[in-house]
């Protein structure tokens, strides 16, 4: 399976410095992770159109460099708190595609046993702390995680992602107010993919550069257009370490783009002409692939073999999910209340 045709003349632009400075091994590792996310979601999208997946399915395609980059910048114990657009983070954190795909199909073998679906991936031990589906309501919760880290003096950092569409809502403001007031070890990352559902940010944000708000919260700020996962690792890495060592919060805005509609039901007809193509030509996945070829001499064949292998993995995940059982009917009574105190952490 080849993707080369997706990229109109990427070779015209120079490769980003961050990729130039990276080793073959790490470039390949990150490329591989990005590709795994993309192929996972493509397989999921196909399963959706075949009626195997229901509900909402929000694809991360185009934004993968962010999840992979941040994951590389994290230490054990650090945690990601994300929105409903969460598959990429889970996979980047090492969650099993089998469990992820099974979750999308509402199967007992799913990452949360089939109770959550696409929007609610959680894998505590891997630092994947969700998967929240109400816009903005995870922002104060993530501040709470950071609060607990500081309370326990455990040195963990919380990295909380939100969309450009989540900047107006009150809970976002309240969570950031507390993070800034109490100087919590947290990094808030706005993945600005230019749209909240069908609405371009011009119609939702009174200001272009949202990091101007950092001062009002007494946070540090950073803002950049994503080029590749190395860059994300570097830039978020700084903010993460500042949170870890100084308990100093940062508001980061990453300019990115989603190649698909908001969810599977959105044909995304609202895009400006040529917009999608322009962004595709800077697809971080393709840019990273170019680095592998141009800087590290990887052959098309090798890259295709890798792609095939990953496609295999994700197809196997689909089969796994297909063949997994639905939850037992009695399972619906589980996890509403904890009877025994020792079951709580």
């Amino acid at each position: 399976m080849s993707t080369a045709s997706n990229t109109p003349a990427p070779d015209q632009e120079a490769l980003p410095a961050t990729l130039a400075g990276a080793s073959h091994e790490e470039t390949l590792r990150m490329y591989r992770e990005m590709l795994r996310i993309r192929r996972f979601e493509e397989v999921a999208a196909r399963a959706y159109t075949r009626g195997k997946i229901s509900g909402f399915l929000h694809l991360y395609i185009g934004q993968e460099a962010i999840a992979v980059g941040v994951s590389e910048a994290m230490k054990d114990g650090d945690r990601i708190v994300a929105t409903y657009r969460d598959h990429g983070f889970a996979l980047a954190r090492g969650c099993e595609p089998n469990a992820c795909m099974a979750e999308l199909m509402g199967k007992a073998t799913g990452i949360v046993g089939g109770v959550g679906g696409s929007m609610h991936f959680f894998d505590r031990d891997k630092g994947m702390w969700g998967g929240y589906a109400i816009v903005g309501n995870h922002i104060p919760v993530a501040a709470g995680h950071a609060f607990a880290s500081k309370y326990k003096d455990e040195g963990a950092v919380t990295i909380c992602f939100l969309g450009d569409g989540a900047l107006g809502i009150g809970p976002t403001h309240e969570g950031m107010t507390l993070a800034g007031l109490w100087q919590l070890p947290i990094v808030y990352v706005v993945e600005n993919n230019r749209y909240s559902m069908g609405t371009p940010l011009e119609r939702t944000l009174p200001v272009k550069d949202v990091t101007v708000r950092a001062a009002g919260y007494n946070m540090e700020a950073d803002r950049f257009t994503v080029t590749d996962p190395m860059q994300v690792r570097e830039r978020l890495g700084e903010a993460i370490e500042r949170a870890r060592t100084e308990n100093r919060p940062t508001l980061v805005e990453i300019l990115t783009y989603r190649f698909r509609g908001h969810s599977m039901s959105d044909p995304a007809k609202y895009r400006a002409k040529g917009e999608l193509e322009a962004f595709r030509s800077r697809d971080p996945l393709e840019v990273t692939k170019r680095a592998l070829m141009e800087l590290h001499g990887m052959s098309e064949e090798k890259l295709e073999a890798l792609d095939d292998e990953i496609f295999e993995e994700m197809s196997a995940a689909e089969t796994f999910a297909d063949e997994s059982p639905m939850p037992d009917p009695e399972f619906r009574f589980k996890h509403h209340y904890i009877e025994d105190e020792s079951e709580a952490d």
């Binding site: 089939g114 109770v115 679906g117 816009v135 009150g170 909240s196 069908g198 619906r332 009574f333 509403h336």
Partner: protein, 325 residues
Amino acid sequence: MPELQIRQAIRDAIKEEMERDDRVFILGEEVGHYNGAYKCTEGLLDQFGEKRVVDTPIVETGFSGVGIGAAMCGLRPIVEFMTFNFSAVAFDQILNNAAKIHHMTNGQFSCPIVFRGPNAAAHMLGSTHSQAFDAFYAHIPGLKVISVATAYDAKGLLKSAIRDPNPVIFFESEVMYAQRGEVPDEEYLIPIGEADIKRSGADVTLITWGQSVPTSLEAAKLAAEKDLDVEVIDLRTLRPLDEAAIIESVKKTNRAVVAYHGWPYGGVGAEIVDRIQRVAFDWLDAPVLRECYEDLNMPYAENLENIIIPSAERILSALEKVSYR
């Protein structure tokens, strides 16, 4: 009569009221350029322009408050919640402003506003996106609360809601938007507060509303096959409750079941039970039973969701139970 989808009936109601009264406008997420997340506002932006079809950012408290403020100034806002699940972040605006403005200002201001959108479980959306808000809003004095199940009712009641000088909560259903029903070409209004007998019967009264209406009719059909003649009352308005219609039917049948989408503890279902046992105590031959969601958070998995939502079979068995069959 033409057959319209419920979403079209809703769109037509809004359109006609906007044509009739230029104080009427609609605001919410994706109502304009996107033509509505569920296409209930299709074509309205083209017809009325950005002034009266207002796309908002994701700020439910913000745009609910703007609607309330505009209503106080004499406009007639329609606030669309993409789903009522997202009204939880605007709860204070509805509880403490919309429901209270008229009273708190001693009648100096009124708050003629409609909050509308899909309510209750759709299909595999998980616990945060599958909630029925009936119990929350019907509890609050100062509000009117409507829940519609047919295209005809949707249009007639939405038009009444838009004209009503009070704040109105208007519940629709995502999974029912595509259902079709006859809608007259001529203008009509359905009064708020009147239940509708969707099927008359002599043996048991089945009180229902919203998404449970078709399921209840199905249950009544199944019951008929077993020689149980069920009267199906679609409440349509939850607040004020059409107690007279309920009581009249129960006095005839001496038995009642309540079927709806929503959690069991308290809520509209329990209120109906209370009224029946209080007002028609001596007529009751069996306890009133309720079929609604199980008292659980809604899981994503299809099979579990299907168990939790009241099915025609479950309703049937309640009908049989109150009939001591």
